[in-house]
């Protein structure tokens, strides 16, 4: 049998598979296809309906997202939501009129009293915007006019696993695609040599909670949209490195044999899947170069190292990952997800929090400054925050020098920068106890709707039909908070 297929009489009648196999042979056609229409090859099960139509839905503000996830949930009361009245009420019991029956985790539900605990650290106002920032975050304090602080985030989850799953997938129950997967599905990939969704993890010394691969899973979407964990060290992608004794040219020679034998079999079977396999082997070969390249910071100038802090030269630290995030963004990666573990301060908060903040403060600010000086902040949306907040009352023994705070879902703070978000804005207001939201609540679904909007996507239209239902990142809720956008 000949390798070439017979040309059908009427080119308008053929389906897309044939269209592209006619256009050119092999890998070129696949690349062409996906360049022309992102995700052409991923139309899902229903080619006529139920797929994103005409993407992006409107002009995007941001092209990519860097999500600096602070896993474990940093205290809003020691970071961005300044509540001086807690100082005067120190030790008083949280009034029932404020708690309003909020369910508590098993860690404090047995406590007889809920003594209010003021922040362990001072706050000051910064910048033109006059935003309050705690002394734990001196570097972030200096960029407050570039960031937008949301003090009115809220969630329903009170435990880490469901809460973090909610943030990453829009549902507390596992099994849904992660945000990064949705964006990869909706917007495709900008760089043919790197995955569109990558994940980097680091850990501080504070009390930490586990991470799980389901957080960057593509759920029911095609697994090519799943987050690829880039690991510190010599083997950044699983199985990336060839064994000792196989050089780059040896590998090329070996793959050429694989490819030519695959082509023989393609001619015999006529199965396009083999063509796709050949293309995937080529992509893998390119990744063996492109991934180490993008991860190699040896040519970063001294000024950049200084900006992010010396830690950025130590692989696996938050600072190194933040610098890495910028490099990945430059290379067109759509969604860059960082996790920094260690923010679960049930006890020993003053000590742990200052150490955690030291891990992330300088590098987080550096990333914003660095993106800005490269002109990339305009189309890169950076998000900083955890999965819920922490209680205004003390967990365990009342000791101002060494207290803890339990999980608090009803109000907490995150910040965003770039990507069309209004700089210098403080959004939302909590009561004087820092317990309830008084103005402009932002639910996780709203947060997702808003950042999709910034990426040019209508969260109600980016759907995927699975198990008889159209799923969205925002499930059945979510409003775009336009006030957050410039």
């Amino acid at each position: 049998m000949e390798n070439k297929q017979q040309a059908p009489d009427n080119p308008l009648k053929v389906n897309r598979r044939h269209f592209f196999s006619q256009l050119s042979v092999g890998i070129g056609s696949l690349a062409l296809g996906s360049l022309l229409i992102p995700d052409l090859f991923d139309r899902g099960k229903d080619p006529v309906r139920g797929n994103p139509i005409g993407i992006p839905h409107f002009a995007p503000r941001a092209k990519r997202i860097i999500y600096l996830f602070q896993a474990g949930a940093p205290s809003q009361l020691e970071s961005f939501d300044y509540k001086p009245s807690l100082l005067t009420r120190m030790g008083e019991d949280l009034p029932d009129s404020i708690r309003k029956g909020q369910r508590l985790t098993g860690m404090t539900s047995g406590q007889e009293s809920f003594p209010l605990m003021p922040p362990a650290i001072g706050f000051k106002q910064y910048g033109q915007s006059g935003a309050w920032v705690s002394d734990y975050f001196p570097h972030i304090a200096r960029i407050v006019d570039d960031i937008c602080i949301v003090k009115s985030m809220h969630t329903e989850a009170i435990n880490h696993d469901p809460a973090i799953t909610f943030f990453q997938t829009g549902s507390q129950v596992s099994g849904r695609p992660s945000m990064g997967s949705w964006l990869s599905y909706g917007l495709g990939n900008e760089n043919k040599n790197l995955p569109s969704f990558v994940v980097l993890t680091s850990r501080g010394e504070g009390n930490s909670q586990g991470l799980y691969s389901k957080l960057w899973s593509s759920g029911f979407l095609d697994s090519k949209h799943q987050g690829v964990l880039l690991r510190a060290g010599k083997n950044p992608v699983l199985y990336l490195n060839d064994p000792d004794g196989v050089s780059r040219s040896d590998k090329r020679h070996l793959l050429d044999q694989v490819s030519s034998l695959n082509k023989l079999h393609l001619a015999e079977t006529g199965d396009d899947e083999i063509e796709s396999r050949i293309a995937q082997y080529e992509m893998a070969y390119r990744m063996q170069m492109s991934v180490p390249d993008v991860m190699d910071i040896s040519r970063e100038p001294e000024a950049i190292i200084k900006l992010y802090g010396e830690d950025c030269q130590v692989p696996g630290t938050y600072a190194a990952n933040a610098l890495q995030a910028r490099r990945l963004a430059e290379n067109g990666v759509r969604f860059i997800q960082l996790y920094h573990q260690g923010w679960d301060q049930h006890g020993n908060l003053p000590n742990e929090m200052s150490a955690q903040a030291r891990d992330v403060d300088q590098a987080s600010a550096a990333l914003i400054i660095d993106l800005k000086q490269r002109g990339m902040l305009d189309d890169t949306l950076v998000i900083w925050g955890g999965e819920f907040g922490r209680t205004n009352y003390c967990q365990g023994k009342f000791d101002p020098a060494n207290y803890g705070r339990d999980h608090h879902p009803r109000a907490f703070s995150i910040w965003m920068a770039g990507g069309g978000v209004k700089p210098g804005l403080s959004y939302g207001l909590t009561d004087e106890f820092g317990y309830n939201i008084l103005e402009n609540p932002v639910h996780i679904n709203d947060f997702h709707a808003t950042l999709m909007y910034a990426m040019g996507l209508d969260h109600e239209r980016l759907t995927y039909k699975y198990q008889g239902r159209r799923f969205r990142l925002t499930d059945v809720a979510g409003n775009v908070i336009k006030e957050l956008l410039a």
Binding site: R49, S174, S213, G245, Q257, N262, L266, Y281, R469
Partner: protein, 782 residues
């Protein structure tokens, strides 16, 4: 002159753009014209033509969900659709036989944006073909029928076909009829080597041995083929292969999941599943024991062990959780698993509201939920650290299995000498009142409910006890329309890459329709008539000419039926991760065929558990310490399954996390798969060992390359294939011998003992084997 060329170039570009645009437009929305031209069926069928349109476009506001219903109109029920419209007295949505008098007709054809249905802001729209279908259906009398999957299956008369020479059994009659209707022909029979490899992979998950190949000879008769199938079916590897699929369905894992994700000992339950498949327990009984073994009159330890099925779900150990919330989550998991795994219905939507499409009410959901809500479970009482210190790996209720029991009554449990093992099981010792949970919230109970099943599927007979035994009897009742269809469809999917119903997890209104409904029904009834006998079913399908076809895509088939919905050829599809790894181990001779026992830890890239664990030493699964020796080469279904970080060489090939029941895996094709096959130690070591074994056979084996090829691919190489590989082998050998490349590090890969072979030859042959392990054909079931 220049102008002319520019003109031509512009013209060509314009044409290309136009073609492309047209093509893209067709892909995204389809120009109206192409739909308008489509031929309408002679008889419009409600289930196969109309309901998919209504369900997808109308039910959201005019369907079963009372809360979202608009204008008091529902189109899913005949009576209501034919009734007078609340808002328009004297008007009717549908007047059978008379489209012009039917409001539906006007609403779908109108251009008026205020009248149009579906409304423009719903982001739904009917195309011209769909509109015409509805019109014709109304004209033909607008007959409503029950959802196809809820009508009990019947064995229809076999269809009469124009030719009959190809037909080997009943299956073929259904398939051939459909092919003839589409003016297509079935494919020829596959080559013997392909067929044996196919049967072997399908039944055992392993490549065939030379023995089976020789037995069949060049031209196998029906009898010899039947004999070979029987042999595969009676090999213990059959039970392992079937179990591997059931572990996804039953969300089996060796860890609790959630935050700390520490150790649990459910593996004796997995050993029971292997035993059940190998002893060919009827599927009805297999389900009954797993659902309700503890409540049976004959309940012994084996039956109780089987109920571990209900306890395979994740259990949280996170400090500070509200146990009541999670207790409810566990019951929800059992209920959903029952729906998806056994009934082929996704129930979870009805947890929070009436099911929008499937006529399963929220009340129905909690009636089912109540069957699983009486277990004396406490939630893990210790966090991962305490649990590890006290070796407490099970949440009550559990049974304890001792080494001596594992030698006697429970001899299928591969428990070595040592302490007894605790396996979580089901009981009904804490009867709870069940309420509808408003919006699915555990702390917002509503109406009280009794155990029951969705009446629209099949009413719960009064004679049955309202407990899990009754539920098991209901589900395995010959009149239950789903159970047999669902498993038959999954078995079909195992052998054909996809089921006759391609959404094998969803037989509801929103699921796909069967490509061959009469065939599915015939097989489902036949399966029940033959005692729910899985081996019988598998063999029935395998003895059909349909199954035995070649898998090559002829240009004709490729054009007419690229998705192979008409079954004019056998499918080719990538093996799953377990099969690929087992294949590599088996062909290299490394495979350790020991059955059952505690899960093992083969090679895994270092650091994975350590990087993501909860820090410190929370629990005992914080660091991954690979096993050594024989345990590195066990079949993949014994690989330790940690939910939050499942084995990467499985997940890269689309294995699910096992956080919940999954009945079908994707079959993707990604660069990470290419990297895993090239650089996973497990594969490299296998290539090395295979090379050494062949070289060790004699001082100078004549054709080592041919031997590697035949061992891996179970066929003789073609001329060009052999010359390509031989050339590669000799080039590489020369490089190693000349010192241009260093063989030492390469051949040192893997723990397995080194044979005394020439390093240069070993390295060259190892890389040749590595080429073959990376071929599409090797990892494909053809």
């Amino acid at each position: 002159m220049k102008m002319k060329w520019t003109g031509i170039i512009i013209a060509v570009l314009t044409l290309l753009t136009a073609v492309l645009f047209f093509y893209i437009a067709g892909d995204f929305m389809g120009p109206e014209d192409s739909y308008a031209a489509r031929k309408l069926p002679e008889k419009v069928d409600y289930n196969f033509h109309i309901k998919p349109i209504l369900s997808d476009n109308c039910y959201t506001c005019h369907g079963p969900d009372a809360n979202k219903r608009r204008a008091g109109l529902r189109l899913d029920l005949e009576q209501e659709a034919f009734g007078e419209l609340e808002d328009h007295p004297g008007s009717f949505a549908i007047v059978p036989g008379n489209p012009k008098k039917s409001e539906v007709y006007h609403r779908i054809y109108t251009e008026d944006k205020n009248e149009m249905m579906p409304p423009p802001d719903s982001r739904r729209a009917l195309n011209a073909y769909e509109k015409k279908l509805i019109e014709k259906w109304i004209k033909q009398g607008a007959r409503f029928e029950r959802h196809w999957a809820f009508i009990p299956p019947k064995k229809e008369e076999l269809p009469v076909t124009a030719t009959s020479g190809w037909i080997q059994n009943e299956i073929d009659a259904f398939v051939l009829k459909k092919l003839e209707d589409n003016h297509l022909h079935p494919s020829e029979k596959a080559a013997v080597s392909t067929l044996v490899r196919r049967i072997s992979l399908d039944l055992t998950g392993l490549p065939p041995g030379r023995k089976e190949l020789q037995k069949l000879g060049k031209d196998p008769t029906e009898e010899t083929l039947s004999g070979v199938i029987d042999e595969f079916l009676s090999s213990p590897a059959y039970g392992e292969r079937m179990t591997q699929a059931w572990l996804d369905v039953a969300r089996y894992a060796d860890s609790h999941g959630y935050q700390d994700d520490s150790y649990r000992t459910m593996w004796p339950w997995r050993d029971w599943v292997i035993h059940a498949f190998n002893s060919n327990m009827g599927y009805d009984r297999f389900l009954t024991w797993q659902l309700a073994g503890d409540l049976l009159p004959e309940a012994g330890k084996e039956q109780i062990l089987a109920t571990g099925f209900n306890r395979n779900h994740p259990i949280t150990q996170e400090g500070g959780v509200i146990q009541e919330e999670y207790q409810s989550a566990y019951v929800v998991d059992r209920t959903n698993t029952f729906g998806k795994a056994i009934l082929g219905i996704t129930l979870e939507c009805a947890k929070c509201h009436d099911h929008k499409y499937d006529a399963i009410s929220q009340k129905n959901y909690y009636e089912l939920y109540s069957f699983f809500n009486n277990v004396d479970e406490k939630g893990l009482q210790m966090d991962a650290v305490q649990a590890a210190e006290r070796s407490f790996f099970a949440d009550p209720p559990y049974i304890t299995i001792t080494a001596s029991e594992a030698k006697g009554l429970l001899s299928f449990v591969q428990l070595e000498e040592g302490p007894p093992v605790k396996v979580m099981v089901m009981n009904d010792s804490m009867p709870r009142e069940t309420h509808v949970l408003n919006r699915g919230n555990y702390d917002d109970p509503g109406e009280k409910v009794q155990p029951g099943t969705p009446e629209r599927i099949f009413p719960f007979p009064d004679s049955l006890p309202k407990n899990r035994v009754g539920l098991a009897k209901w589900v395995t009742d010959r009149n239950n329309p789903l159970t047999s269809r669902v498993i038959v469809n999954r078995i079909w999917g195992m052998l054909f890459g996809k089921g006759l119903v391609s959404t094998s997890e969803d037989f509801g209104v929103q699921g796909s329709l069967p490509t061959h409904p009469a065939l599915l029904d015939w097989l489902s009834v036949d399966f029940m008539e033959n005692g729910w006998d899985l081996k019988y079913l598998l063999k029935k399908i395998m003895m059909s000419a349909t199954y035995q076809q070649r898998s090559e895509l002829t240009p004709e088939l490729k054009l007419a039926d690229p998705e192979n919905n008409l079954l004019g050829r056998a499918p080719r599809f990538r093996m799953n991760g377990e099969m690929i790894r087992d294949y590599v181990l088996a062909t290299s001779g490394l495979l350790n065929r020991e059955i059952g026992g505690a899960s093992v830890k083969p090679y895994q890239p270092p650091g994975l558990w350590e990087e993501t664990n909860a820090g410190g030493n929370r629990g005992i699964l914080t660091t991954y310490v690979p096993d050594t020796g024989d345990k590195l080469y066990r079949r993949s279904l014994y690989t330790f399954w940690k939910r939050t970080l499942p084995p990467p060489n499985m997940t890269i090939f689309d294995a699910p996390t096992r956080d919940f029941s999954e009945v079908r895996r994707q079959k993707t094709n990604t660069p990470l798969q290419a990297l895993a096959l090239q650089n996973d130690i497990q594969v490299l070591e296998a290539a090395r060992v295979l090379a050494q074994r062949i070289l060790a056979k004699g001082p100078d084996p004549r054709e080592p390359v041919r031997e590697v090829f035949e061992t891996i691919l179970v066929r003789s190489p073609g001329k060009e294939e052999l010359s390509t590989l031989n050339r590669y082998y000799h080039d590489a050998l020369e490089d190693f011998q000349n010192g241009l490349r260093n063989a030492d590090n390469l051949v040192a890969i893997g723990e397995y003992e080194q044979l005394d072979t020439d390093p240069s030859k070993t390295a060259a042959l190892m890389l040749t084997a590595q080429i073959i392990y990376n071929l599409d054909e090797t990892i494909t079931r053809e």
